[in-house]
């Protein structure tokens, strides 16, 4: 589903991503972990066509990232860290617009929005604005925005950051269900390592723009003689966990 080789991104003198290879299979849930500033979001933005890599090659959802970014865009969903809704407009209107940009007719778009909102436990919120919603509801709305066009691959950038434990658990249930029902492939970043351990089939740990560990949570734990992913994370990044988890 994702095959990337030697992806790099430099911003002026800063090498944000220094050569990343990664492979994600269809139907996998892959966690992309790393301290703040390690290059997670930059990598995600490159894989979602929002940022042009400085060098490297990648195929995302079967399309070449450089040669056919429009095909990549048609097949992926992307849920950004900061959300996708302005606080002053009705969410239904925004969702319908987004669906139409993926080629749905007005009627199809409205139907799809109604179904999707119900599936994500947000029935009938079309007329509301995000101002009146809880953090968990807003996050599920963002996910709905990324799923409108039934993508094969969903990118989630820190989907649970700032949510209370119940909302986090609820969000994970939704992600698991999507994978089981639709075979959705999910590539996500998170700072909550126990979550990554419980939910992800595989995790990749990035630090200073390079992948420093990759494998199933169990493989990584046994490889590093660690009890938890937190310990693995500390061992491979050599940093205080607090630094990463604080923001």
């Amino acid at each position: 589903m994702i095959h990337a080789r030697g992806l790099t991104k430099t911003f002026g003198p800063v090498e944000a991503v220094r050569g990343i290879d990664l492979d994600v299979s269809p139907g996998e849930i892959v966690g992309f972990l790393g301290p703040n500033g390690a290059g997670k979001t930059t990598t995600l933005r490159m894989l979602t066509t929002l940022l042009r890599p400085t060098s490297g090659a990648a195929t995302v959802a079967g399309a070449d990232l450089f040669a056919d970014p429009a095909a990549v865009r048609r097949r992926i969903g992307y849920v950004a860290q900061g959300g996708a809704f302005a606080p002053f407009s009705a969410v239904g209107e925004e969702l319908v617009l987004q669906a139409r940009l993926y080629g749905l007719s007005g009627e199809q778009a409205r139907e799809r929005v109604t179904t999707l909102l119900a599936e994500l436990d947000l029935p009938g919120v079309e007329e509301r604005t995000t101002v009146t919603m809880s953090g968990g509801q807003k996050r599920r709305l963002d996910i709905a925005m990324g799923l409108l066009h039934r993508p094969e691959l969903l990118f989630l950038d820190e989907p649970t950051t700032g949510l209370d434990p119940q909302s986090r658990a609820n969000l994970w249930d939704h992600v698991r269900r999507l994978r089981e029902r639709d075979g959705l492939t999910v590539f996500l970043t998170t700072h909550y390592l126990e979550e990554a351990d419980a939910l992800c089939d595989r995790v990749l740990i990035i630090d200073h723009g390079r992948i420093v560990a990759a494998g199933t949570p169990d493989e990584l734990k046994s490889e590093h003689g660690a009890r938890t992913l937190d310990d693995v994370f500390l061992a491979v990044t050599g940093r205080e966990l607090r630094e990463g988890a604080a923001a």
Binding site: L50, F66, A70, Y78, A80, G83, F85, A86, E93, L101
Partner: protein, 242 residues
Amino acid sequence: MTALAALTGHYLRVSFGNKFSLVFSALQPFLYLVLFGPLFQRSGVGSWAVLVPGLLVQLGLTSAGMAGFTIVFDQRFGVLERLRVTPVSRVTLLLGRVLRDSVVLLVQAATIIVAGYALGLRAPIAGVLGALLLITVLSVGLASLSYTAALTIRQELFAPVMSTLVVPLMLLSGALLPMSLAPAWLDVVSRLTPFRYAVEGLRALFAGSYTSPALVWGVVVSLAFAVLGVTLGTKRFQRENA
């Protein structure tokens, strides 16, 4: 095409749902019409048919010229990024907004012209319709450049920089007093701005002189300005894409 219609329709619903900004962005030229127009008319410089075309260009600057302000919020709230991750072409993402701004400007311009008629403006209908067309062309360039500026300069600088820039551009266009009164140096500086040609082209239309060189120049410069604006805007919308 579907995407463009969906975008423009969406933005129009948002704009016409927000009456405050619709009125506010046309308020300055309207105040000039009502509070300065009667003085201008008695000053011997010219009639309403000289002033109103100038106010239309002022309107272009305060309305379409400030359009970029809306994208600042879209950028801050992740709306822009969400649109950029769809397969819609970047020029469509720009034009969806720009067409909205042109329609808004048309409605505002028509209102000012009607108010002008109430105050004593007399101009041929054909000329007025031509003027609405010309101001629409100008608005495409203005709105596109406004978005380009909003995505290029620091977010918090956009409003102060643009609202300050609008004043010299308006004065140099000869919108308030014809540049035929200007000393040579001011006349030269004025000729370096595109809005000078738009104002004079609009005045020719309001005067019914459809074959005057001023109109030809007004049309040529406004078209070139629109092409330049859309080209730069598209470039800016494409940046940072794979």
